[in-house]
């Protein structure tokens, strides 16, 4: 009974840490992008200022009920997914509220938010939002398949659907899953490129083309909610990758180093690539990522 209180308290702290770390990473990404483009760039805490400003703006926008709770859906999804991902392994505070079968739960919950947001964006009646939503859903169909294949391969290979079990297996074997099931790792990383929606897969937001897509009618506090949910979600996904493929982390410094290393992949790939069109993006995901997904499944079935 004692330990559940530790876990709940730890989970609350995790959400706050996720918010701070996620926003800092986004700020760093703006800074690094700027340096790559030979600019000075905003300070790394720029996103905190933006968040503060957005939170202090009025939001006198009304298009209907779903429009108001669309951002809340995103927030709920982010918090729920960060809660089931164990942040620090072997720690009684931050192993979080995970349970047997949480990988399957994560697979479902991760698409829940975008769907809620899609309903909300649909109700605003803005044509840009509608196009953004259709693009987002098509892109999701693209990257979800290799992503699910990678996870199913892991589940098949190690006969478990629990993240903690997978971490324990890595610690027992002394090998990261990144090396012991390499194809699943490659498929998952390629799927991640789409998940983070940096260019070339920023076809949903596409500021110069779609006027930021689904969020185009959301200003002020709605945008603040979306921004914070994005940062929490980014942290959740990065930690999940670290847990699954990089052997988890036993202290916060290790966690930050590993998550940032993973985060650099979509970000640096994004800074040097122009935006894809929708069909190109889907074709991309149904090419090599899908191939590596199949290889991962084969590998899991044979070994």
């Amino acid at each position: 009974m004692e330990s559940i209180w530790y876990k709940i308290l730890g989970a609350i702290i995790t959400v706050i840490v996720a918010f701070i770390v996620g926003l800092t990473y986004m700020g760093l990404s703006r800074k690094i992008t700027a340096r790559i483009q030979n600019r000075k760039g905003p300070p790394f805490y720029q996103n905190f200022i933006d968040a503060l400003k957005l939170a202090s703006k009025t939001s006198a926008i009304h298009h209907g009920f779903m429009q108001h709770i669309g951002p809340a859906f995103m927030m709920i999804t982010s918090i729920m997914s960060v809660l089931v991902v164990p942040v620090l392994t072997g720690d009684q505070w931050f192993s979080n509220l995970n349970f047997k079968g949480d990988l399957i739960f994560l697979l479902y919950i991760m698409v829940f938010g975008p769907l809620g947001m899609a309903l909300g964006a649909g109700q605003t009646g803005n044509p840009n939002s509608a196009i953004g939503v259709t693009r987002g859903l098509s892109q999701m169909v693209g990257f979800e398949i290799p992503w699910v294949m990678a996870l199913v391969a892991l589940m098949m290979q190690y006969k478990t659907a629990s993240i903690v079990d997978l971490i324990n297996i890595q610690q027992e074997q002394g090998v990261w899953l990144m090396f012991s099931s390499p194809f699943a790792f490659i498929a998952a990383v390629l799927a991640m490129l789409g998940m983070f929606r940096y260019s070339p897969f920023d076809i949903v937001g596409a500021p110069t083309e779609l006027a930021s897509g689904p969020v185009s009618e959301n200003g002020g506090k709605y945008l603040f909610t979306l921004m914070s949910s994005n940062s929490i979600f980014a942290f959740a996904k990065l930690t999940l990758y670290v847990d699954l493929f990089l052997g988890g982390a036993s202290n916060i410094v290790e966690l930050l180093i590993k998550t940032f290393a993973i985060y650099l992949i979509p970000m640096l790939y994004g800074t040097v690539s122009p935006r894809y069109r929708t069909e190109q993006a889907i074709k991309y995901f149904w090419g090599w990522p899908l191939f590596f997904g199949f290889l991962a499944l084969l590998y899991a079935a044979i070994f």
């Binding site: 703006r30 700027a34 483009q37 030979n38 600019r39 000075k40 760039g41 905003p42 300070p43 720029q46 200022i49 933006d50 503060l52 400003k53 202090s56 703006k57 009025t58 939001s59 006198a60 926008i61 840009n128 500021p207 110069t208 006027a211 930021s212 969020v215 185009s216 009618e217 959301n218 200003g219 002020g220 945008l223």
Partner: protein, 181 residues
């Protein structure tokens, strides 16, 4: 405690500080002056280091940048865009055309003085202003925001009748939604 005057003052200072350092600009490229926005935003002058960033839609924007002359036809769109923006919002008039008509002072289809139709917080003069001047304009706006003096939006609300009268003189068939803040 919460409604206490002093604590409100502290909140105002913090909020104004964040508004000052995070200016999202909706560049309404109406006139030729819009060509100076890309150099201001990109590597050479890099306005992002000051927190100035482009916003995609009026809902997300803080500053409406009117870049140059406004024809009577675009005025209607600009008014709708301005009224869709969320408080606090500011307007920057960019180029001589927004001040007194500039080289279009005798044109039959452009408006001459922007301030009669929308409350302008900062003017940047020049035809067209260089990026340095644009950055100086943003600096002026930041200063006004920090002092709490950039209150064009309040002026607009208080004198809505007057602004509407002027706008309706230019736009004869007025079919627009009510302004509801």
């Amino acid at each position: 405690m919460i409604n206490d005057k002093n604590s409100q003052k502290i909140v105002d200072i913090i909020q104004n500080w964040s508004r000052k350092h995070s200016i999202w600009v909706l560049a309404y490229g109406t006139g030729c002056g819009a060509i100076e926005i890309p150099p201001t935003m990109t590597s050479r002058y890099d306005a992002e280091r000051l927190g100035v960033r482009g916003a995609a839609t009026p809902r997300q924007a803080d500053v409406l940048l009117i870049t140059g002359y406004l024809t009577t036809k675009t005025l209607k769109r600009v008014i709708r865009v301005y009224e869709q923006m969320q408080d606090p919002k500011y307007v920057i008039g960019f180029g001589s055309c927004t001040i007194n008509g500039g080289m279009y002072y005798d044109s039959y289809n452009t408006i001459k003085v922007l301030d009669k139709y929308l409350p302008v917080d900062v003017y940047i003069n020049g035809c067209m202003p260089r990026p340095e001047a644009v950055l100086a304009g943003f600096g002026k706006l930041q200063q006004l925001i920090a002092e709490g003096k950039a209150n064009g939006a309040t002026k607009y609300k208080e004198n809505l009748e007057w602004y509407r009268g002027n706008q309706k003189k230019i736009i004869p068939n007025w079919v627009m939604p009510e302004y509801n803040w």
